[in-house]
Symmetry: C2
Subunit: 345 residues, 2 copies
């Protein structure tokens, strides 16, 4: 895709993201207690993100003939859950930076950060209650059920990933990775935003299972590209510490490929590296793992997998959206697929 075309996608992503952010800030409000709760809650949502979830949710709603205004509350709920998840995820991974700024637990300590995440979880229920008046009780219940499934899948995927780090698992396959990513990423980043958007746009008259394969391929492509960018992106552009995933021992497709292809001696040393607490790593160890990933083509493997998954997502787009009239939003959802793969931040 050419640069100008990207500008169109980015502009619409940004428009939907900001609409959703405005709704989130409205939901958060300016309540007491401020200092250790409501002043901190807007921190992550306000850090500029890509807006993939609001884009898919609102874009799909419009592509299915709905009003964008009807999807903003649900998009805000999804984003609030997402940000709650990020706050806790950063604690669980011991991450120091998020979108270029210190993580909440790095700034305020773990106790306050755990509670801030809990507050965001409960705040996300509010716009879903608002759906009752906006969309009627029947549709509002269906959307709540979608969200319940979405959040449950995320914690189950998170449990898989935390278990791997806890057990220092070094014999994983690409299939293991994709199963974990389906649970941890795809449902809440792609599948449910599309399902919920379509439910609203079509007033409930749609079989939402048609988005499952589309969202799975797209979400997996997105996550793998994210893992690559975590490794090779520049700090300023990406806003996370480079090589953070390596330091945190995350079982990315890249690491799994490396463990499968390196020599027995290298594998032994990588396993020791992964076993050691983060602050016990010797200088240069992470750099050594990174160079091995280049040597064994692990990063190329991940990029190739992401492109293949994006191709499958393009194919599934026809199933999920093909029968709809040609609209700007239909085109927008289509174009997000390649944009997410080709982005460099």
């Amino acid at each position: 895709m050419v640069g100008e075309h990207y500008q169109h996608i980015k502009a619409r992503l940004e428009r939907y993201r900001l609409m959703t952010l405005a709704e989130m800030l409205e939901v958060i409000g300016t309540r007491e207690p401020r200092r250790y709760l409501y002043d901190i809650v807007p921190s992550y949502p306000s850090r500029s993100g890509k807006g993939l979830r609001p884009g898919l949710c609102i874009g799909t709603c419009c592509a299915y003939g709905g009003e964008f205004a009807n999807a903003i509350g649900s998009a805000a709920a999804i984003e609030l859950f997402h940000n709650a998840f990020l706050v806790h995820d950063d604690i669980e991974d011991g991450s120091e930076f998020r979108r270029g700024l210190p993580t909440i637990h790095a700034e305020h300590g773990v106790p306050i950060a755990v509670n801030v995440g809990d507050a965001m979880n409960v705040l996300s229920i509010r716009p879903l209650m608002g759906n009752r008046r906006l969309l009627g009780p029947e549709l509002a219940w269906r959307i709540l059920e979608e969200v319940e499934h979405m959040v449950r899948q995320s914690v189950e995927g998170q449990a898989l990933e935390l278990g791997w780090v806890h057990d220092n698992a070094c014999e994983l396959t690409d299939d293991d990775y994709l199963r974990m990513t389906l649970k941890k990423t795809c449902w809440y980043t792609c599948i449910h935003p599309c399902r919920i958007g379509a439910l609203i746009g079509a007033r409930g008259e749609v079989d939402v299972n048609r988005f499952n394969r589309f969202g799975y391929y797209m979400g997996a492509a997105f996550q793998i590209r994210d893992d690559v960018l975590n490794l090779i992106g520049e700090h300023a552009k990406y806003g996370k510490e480079i090589g953070g995933d390596v330091l945190e021992g995350k079982r990315t497709l890249i690491l799994i490929h490396l463990l499968r292809h390196c020599s027995a001696g290298e594998k032994k040393r990588i396993r020791q590296f992964l076993q050691a607490p983060r602050d016990r790593h010797r200088a240069g160890d992470a750099e050594w793992v990174f160079r091995l990933m280049q040597t064994y083509g692990s990063i190329d493997h991940a990029n190739s997998a992401a492109r293949n998954l994006a191709g499958a997502a393009l194919h599934e787009f026809a199933v999920a959206y093909g029968q709809l009239p040609e609209t700007e939003d239909k085109q927008f959802v289509h174009d997000i697929i390649l944009y997410m793969i080709e982005r460099d931040s």
Copy 2:
């Protein structure tokens, strides 16, 4: 009250607690992934508790003419939220024991414990969705709104308390404590269980605000008695480390009283003690604080406050339940008040 009478209350509390536990375990199920998630989730719920919340919710439902079976799902939702809150609360406070066994983060580490709490939070939505068929969509929505308010109050109260520890606040008043306790404890331990039980029992035909003062007095009495037991109870009976609250720097009514009545020199030393990380305390320091609490009558003050609040709750009982026919459940809710104050574990 005489011993035999207590046995009646305890038996009914236990009956409602076990019914609710059975429902919780049904909701949790035996899903994958088990090892780092669903095998751990039942841990806290299965540890024997007092059953105050299920007792108030189901008892109030029955006192208001409802079937106990209609309140079990909502009681399970409240208990799941409560247990999720405990998992995160124990992380936030650095607690080592809960009901006589290691806390989840002590056993499995903080990352897995944060995620287990998140899982319990989302699981608690399931029985609330079940209310839709059981009680109809209108009543089910009202109960969801109650729960949303309940959870939000809890995280706000938690933020107040964490802020005090974070700032090493030493100039608090009894009113500050009661405001925090209203938010952190009373809403979810007493007020909302009663409100939700009455909504179900009366099929929505009840002004639930009548329970607010009753639940506030009762919840505050309960919490203050809990704080006293944390100090003076025996480990085996109470199941938490003795003096845990002192070590964690919790701003109990007892500590607040002591800080107000001790000498300037003692206050300075207590402030230093509270400021120091838990593992830096010198042996005997917590014991010294405890003895000061006895010397200055701080424990007597708390016991007296709890009794006064229980008296106020008995008075408010007439407002909330007085007009109802005399039933075993009405008597049961009434008797819980004194039982909670006079219990020694």
